[in-house]
């Protein structure tokens, strides 16, 4: 621990101040028999004795759920919530995650009675509103991506990848040969290789060139009739647009392969360029990134997959069709379909939110959004490039990736800087990837369009101050954070002897 008495009181920390936050145990620890937060209306039909009705399928041991009052639940979760950082509280510059404003109107419309309480199997004649929403969103996403067809079914980006790769596979299979391998750049997100394997492909690593981009020569070398295609993120995970994208696509296409685009970085493109126009065959979007549906502490998301005409027959069932009378219907009769990737029609609640986002923006707003996202990233790049190393120099789009190379000699790594940022009142950037940053020392910053200049200036000041601390007083960084209600966690023990559930004490009698 550093000699400085109070690292929280650094003059450089202008964004936050300590304030008391309430302690709170586990909800189980509030439990006591006889407390209850529920009341059911009186039963209006004859009661049924479970053991008589269910015989030995009847439950005899209670699930030891907590017994608490309603107010205690409000207090419990309210208190817990105050321990979280959130986009509503401040900048959340997680690269690749696109932590943007989650508009409140999206939440309101998703909760409308006729939408929130719509059953997936209710007859189509009383589901036209829901179908219309699905169709409208589909059309708009097709226009935004420049593709020909779409499925909204995938539950998140990773499942979108799976769907897209299965489309490729089915298509190739229909051509006679599904092939064996998928090329995945070493800069790719972890879901890309994991997905390819789930689809029965071997992953072939594609090394990036010295600019962090697809190495065209290597690609030419590695591409052949065994390769089903390429999974490309564009802009890539360094935030750089693969400007040779037309060449890349041509190389793949020439050998009969297909190009899959991981659309996690669509926030750099919407309204400015369309993957369908630059050679992409199939791609997913993350509605919980580009289209502002909330991350919710980890999910839910939604990962629609858009594709070119040739892949359309393989889209998962059902697809929406317009009937002769103008009404909408689900079509299940699609013999070439890959099947389903999940039940029902996907994360409808997220579709509603994404459509509301597009409606609120319109063409001008979407373009301006993209421009502001790119502007913010480049501004940060400009203001930090003298104190943090830029491992790859190509122009940035919506995110910028530095490395910790200048700080590492003092023992300060990207993870440490990240922790110190918390003392400065920010959520850290992404540290986990891209792995091609030497030493894995990536500092991956995506501000999104949602940050005002003032917040970004504070972020820049914090990053610069930490760079200075790395010179003057690295210890303060290595032991950070200092101001949070818990400090660094013993993760080793958490992994070595995992404790993954509450162990009931005597207080609640075991049966």
């Amino acid at each position: 621990m550093s000699e400085r008495e109070n690292p929280a009181a650094s003059d450089q920390i202008r964004k936050v101040r300590p304030h008391p936050s309430q302690n709170e145990g586990l909800i189980f620890e509030r439990s006591s028999p006889g407390k209850a937060a529920y009341m059911l209306p009186p039963l209006d039909v004859p009661a049924v004795d479970p053991s008589a009705a269910l015989g030995n399928s009847a439950r005899t041991e209670d699930a030891r759920l907590p017994e608490v009052s309603e107010f205690e639940i409000i207090r419990h979760f309210t208190r817990l919530s105050t321990w979280n950082y959130a986009i509503d509280l401040g900048m959340y510059p997680l690269g690749s995650c696109t932590m943007k404003y989650n508009a409140r109107v999206n939440e309101v419309v998703a909760r409308l009675d006729g939408l929130a309480n719509a059953h997936p199997y209710q007859p189509q004649e009383v589901s036209q509103g829901a179908l219309r929403i699905l169709q409208t969103l589909s059309e708009q996403l097709i226009e935004i991506t420049g593709m020909d067809a779409i499925t909204l079914q995938p539950a998140a980006g990773a499942q979108g990848e799976l769907t897209g790769i299965l489309l490729m596979r089915s298509y190739l299979e229909a051509q006679g040969n599904p092939r064996k391998k998928i090329l995945v750049p070493d800069s790719a997100h972890g879901t890309n290789p994991a997905t390819a394997v789930t689809c029965g492909y071997a992953v072939e690593n594609l090394k990036s060139n010295s600019s962090g981009m697809v190495d065209i020569e290597a690609l030419t070398r590695q591409m052949n009739e065994d390769v089903a295609g390429l999974m490309l993120t564009n802009p890539n995970t360094l935030g750089v647009f693969e400007s040779d994208i037309h060449k890349i696509a041509a190389i793949i296409h020439e050998k009969g392969g297909l190009v899959y685009m991981d659309g996690a970085n669509m926030n750099a493109l919407v309204g400015k360029a369309r993957p369908g126009d630059f050679g992409i065959d199939v791609m997913h979007m993350n509605l919980h990134k580009t289209f502002s549906t909330p991350h919710g502490g980890g999910g839910p998301g939604s990962g629609p997959v858009a594709c070119k005409k040739i892949l359309e027959p393989f889209l998962p069932v059902p697809v929406i069709v317009t009937q002769a009378d103008g009404s909408l219907a689900f079509d299940y009769d699609r013999p070439q379909a890959i099947g389903r990737v999940r039940m029902y029609y996907g994360n409808f609640g997220m579709h509603v939110r994404a459509l509301a986002y597009i409606q609120a923006n319109g063409p001008d707003g979407l373009r301006q959004t993209t421009e502001d996202a790119v502007l913010n990233a480049n501004y940060i790049r400009k203001k930090l490039e003298d104190v943090y190393e830029l491992p790859f120099k190509a122009p940035s789009m919506h995110e910028v990736v530095f490395s910790h190379r200048l700080q590492a000699p003092r023992g300060v790594k990207t993870g440490d800087i990240a922790k110190r940022l918390m003392d400065y009142g920010f959520h850290p950037y992404t540290t986990a990837f891209p792995a091609i940053v030497a030493d894995h020392g990536a500092i991956m910053i995506e501000p999104t369009e949602s940050e005002p200049k003032e917040e970004i200036d504070l972020f820049i000041a914090a990053m610069r101050s930490i760079a200075q601390e790395a010179q003057d007083n690295p210890e303060i960084i290595l032991t950070a954070p200092h101001t949070t209600r818990v400090l660094r966690m013993d993760e080793t023990t958490a992994n070595r002897k995992p404790v993954l559930r509450y162990a009931h004490q005597a207080k609640v009698p075991a049966e």
Binding site: H76, D113, F278, T369, M397
Partner: protein, 456 residues
Amino acid sequence: MRYLPKSPEDRKAMIAEIGVSSIDDLFSQIPGEYRLRRDLRIPRAMAESEIVDFFRQRASENAAGYALFLGAGAYHHYRPVIIDSLISRGEFFTAYTPYQPEISQGTLQVIFEFQSMICELTGMEVANASMYDGSTGATEAAMMAMRLTGRDAVVVASSVHPEYREVLSTYAKYQGVAIATTKFGDDGRVDLAALDEAVTTETACVLVQSPNFFGVIEDVAAIADIAHKKGALLVVSIAEGVSLGVVKAPVEADIVSLEAQSFGVPLSFGGPYCGVIATREKFVRQIPGRLVGETKDKKGRRGYVLALSTREQHIRREKATSNICTNQALLATVATVFLSTYGREGLKELAQQNLAKAAYAASVMGVKTQGAAESKNGAGAGKARVLFSGSPRFNEFVVQTSEDPHHINHRLLEKKIVGGFPLQKFYPELGNAALWCCTELNTKEQIDAAAREVNP
């Protein structure tokens, strides 16, 4: 644009600071021919009031306010209002995955509580932080069983939700997994003899659902015996979580995949829902998805972290246990609030009400019959029949009628009632049959009204 926090001045200053002459310079890396030079062809920006009106209109085109007798994997339970009050706090819904525990203890502790409750409910020892939904959860559970056993074949009961089975097929198809489907008997339960035959020493797991798609509770212990005898694992999928208030936990299973939608997650036309996988402690390193574990900070204070992440794609890449990344954390939060609200006694009482409502509805809708056999000659004009009525069931039951259930449903719609789910599509062998569901939300009055149309 009203969400964007920049003035023209701000933009000008930042562009100047960067040293470019216009914003378009920042897009110069995109080859000119791929730059979009026109507006996207989508409608002009809409005012908030217009957006609300648009969706209100869409909502009014759906069956809002109808009495609902559909289940079939998506259940209509009362959602205590505190759920939305709590998850509407920005600190929950606008947070990311809790990768940074020092400033994510809220989400982490909630998920730890969720895992603990799921263990309590399922009788398992560990549960993960959530899966996309019940269908992918069951599929991932089967894949987990394959990793655990090193085997490649799966036996699945035909009484598992048909769409779950479709998802399993999609995932399995390209991984060389052999899927055998095994039939149900006249009692609507897995035909144990047929199962015994289907399970071999190549079988990684048997996948059943309980209560199954017909609402019938399976004999999990007997099925487990059959699976275990051949060294296969038993995966039990549960689509209706509320059943666990009165139905014995599937403690004989090796892996349980639960769809937690019933625990306060809105129907929302089919998603987002909340899957979760629970299993025995010894299998934990093959569980897919995130896990939250308890630990201490460097001052010894209790806290929570993401644990065992070396299983996951962001570390293990192509060797990960699954490609899942984003999960359903906010809905796990919903379920945690729901289960805290009902609690030990409440979930029991809730389940008992469901049981009673379905029993009553079955009693007024049709005469009891044991099997599906009668369906073959169901053209008679007699009263509707409740199939599988000798088997234990929870809040769903199958009604067989002489009339096509689509016709019945059409009549019911005019009375603002959404009738049971016609089974022809998935189970043509059952003839004019429909799957009805009754929860605590179905009043006697609604049930009686529906029954009158089923037996007009």
